[in-house]
Symmetry: C2
């Protein structure tokens, strides 16, 4: 294994995060975008909260946008009601309509050393639109010029799973933009440079009737409108990424090409990370791809938890040495951990 | 019912279409785009072909793009092989991988009167890319300036179902462009005018984990890159469009708004057509929507056939009287029929 896990892991756990309101509790703080800004490492955490539960009932949080300002309402279902199906801890079905048991927002954690983080007391990006009725989730952050582009997953029953674009310059205020990738799509990672005059993004459509969850490229003149979609990577039968794959970190520009840390899951839902090297001028061209995962669930905090055997990253930062990559990841779908990699060692493992 | 079916129905049947090669037979000629060009009505038919079958086997056509020129290969499976699953007439599963039993191309049929059609002897648009390995299907045609934009469904096992853009000026030659809507998407209908300086399209993503097949809008600066995705219409429980909905014809610009003839299916897969009127300046705003279908499967050629109880349109033309709309549609998923509607009567049925 190429990964050197931080001795300080886990870096962020739910008890470090203040609930957004007194009747909620934080269940998970994970799948954070990572970026350096003003000599700090910022993590944009996905904070999942649920209503404090009452015996004999299950309560789900749903955003209501019907009034002048949107508000998260708590809907209660009786567990004894035969219409209530609570067999999956993440989803309640009532009368066959699914509700998520938690609602997520995005919150900043800040660190001077990239290891010891203090979590903001209040959310940064809250769900506040019908397309976000079930929450805003896993984000990535790309810096282009002096603007940070936040690509996040917006979830609702009506609109399914989309990717929305928000921007900030200071991580104090932000502006929410439109949906840039329509259902069902997630794991969008916008490259930190234009290529041949166009913005480029990795994305991961989820087909229903035919096809698998693969990694695609798209191009844009303006970061809002995307096209020229191109399938570039598929799951590989029998390997660590046999079930599905998707971008994790924002691609890192290197002398050998674009280095992308991506995630793959087996058919039995073990989530690992690997690396792929894409051609610097034509990122649809794959130069090399990890035969083995560069990190797989082994530590106790990865193999047990809310969803065991999950390592899922949404961001990494580079050290000034030009070789050390700090990969931040959600462990077991509930807490935030980190691991250091040497770029040189990753290249060696890729045979480049 | 507002529909006056053509007495000449069906207008195109498979026996009117010459196979693209001697070892193939045409099984269906349906779901045609429709447009007027040079005093002719053109239908761009979806022509489905299959290999002539041998007893005890099932043969499927698959495009192979590995050589210098792509070629449709015929793959044979033994019906006695336990890995062969041929329980659905449209799909063969071999070792769990799905293959379509037919492969479609797009072919022109031409008419002076909009009723009597002669089908070209040869295909217009053939599948010739990996993303089209299982064929090119249901198209729509939008005229913008002197160019016809053909939006068609491209299907393959690897890339799922996408929408690709091709252009022609003369219906003799064409240029294939990129994928404009990524998986899983279909039923794209580009508006025949810019709105507020942007191109606009209806599209129909198919979500997998959450959400329903709904109609969405997207905007584009250049017809290639699309964004600002917006859900505008959902299926309606208990109505003729309870199961799924999607654009059928290209929206018609009228004094009352954009008139869109769309299709809806019930949960039991009865496909009908209805109308929706969209605001002329903001097509995300729905002015009125058909409570009842404007045409539903009733004629014998609609209620029996390859897939009974399907009326599915990809195109309509306007008569010079400014009131008569000729809607062309696939009946029972295999032949092409037509019906006349009065725009005035459709507006009355919509209460506008």
């Amino acid at each position: 294994m190429l990964a050197n896990r931080f001795l300080e892991n886990p870096l962020v756990v739910q008890s470090m995060v203040k609930p957004s309101r007194p009747d909620f509790e934080v269940t998970c703080a994970f799948n954070a975008a990572a970026i350096k800004h003003n000599n700090e490492t910022l993590l944009l955490l996905r904070v999942a909260e649920r209503a404090i539960q009452t015996d004999g009932k299950v309560s789900v949080p749903v955003l209501n946008c019907e009034g002048e300002t949107s508000v998260i309402e708590v809907i209660e279902f009786e567990l004894s009601d035969p219409k209530t199906d609570y067999s999956d801890p993440r989803v309640v079905h009532y009368d066959e309509k699914p509700y998520l048991t938690t609602i997520s927002h995005l919150r900043l954690a800040r660190s001077k050393d990239g290891v010891n983080f203090i979590v903001d007391d209040t959310p940064f990006i809250m769900p506040d639109r019908p397309t976000e009725a079930y929450g805003v989730e896993d984000s990535r952050i790309t810096k282009l010029g002096d603007t940070y582009y936040i690509q996040y997953k917006s979830v609702s029953y009506e609109s399914s799973i989309n990717v929305t674009l928000a921007t900030t310059k200071d991580f104090i205020t932000y502006e929410k933009g439109p949906i840039i990738f329509c259902p069902e799509n997630l794991d969008v990672a916008i490259f930190p440079d234009k290529i041949d005059g166009k913005y480029v993004a990795l994305h991961r459509p989820i087909p229903r009737q035919i096809g698998q969850p693969c990694m695609w490229l798209a191009y844009s003149p303006d970061l809002i409108h995307w096209g020229k979609h191109e399938l570039i990577m598929q799951p590989r039968p029998g390997k660590w990424d046999s079930g599905r794959i998707g971008a994790s970190a924002i691609p890192i520009k290197t002398e050998k090409g674009w280095l992308e840390i991506y995630h793959g899951a087996t058919d039995s839902d073990v989530y690992c990370l690997g690396a792929v090297l894409l051609d610097i001028d034509n990122p649809a061209k794959i130069i090399a791809r990890s035969e083995e995962a560069i990190i797989k669930p082994e530590a106790e905090y990865e193999t047990s938890g809310f969803l065991p055997n999950v390592i899922f990253s949404c961001g990494a930062t580079m050290e000034d040495d030009g070789d050390t990559i700090n990969v931040y990841y959600g462990a077991a779908d509930h807490i935030t951990c980190g691991a250091r990699f040497s770029m040189k060692e990753i290249f060696e493992s890729l045979g480049v």
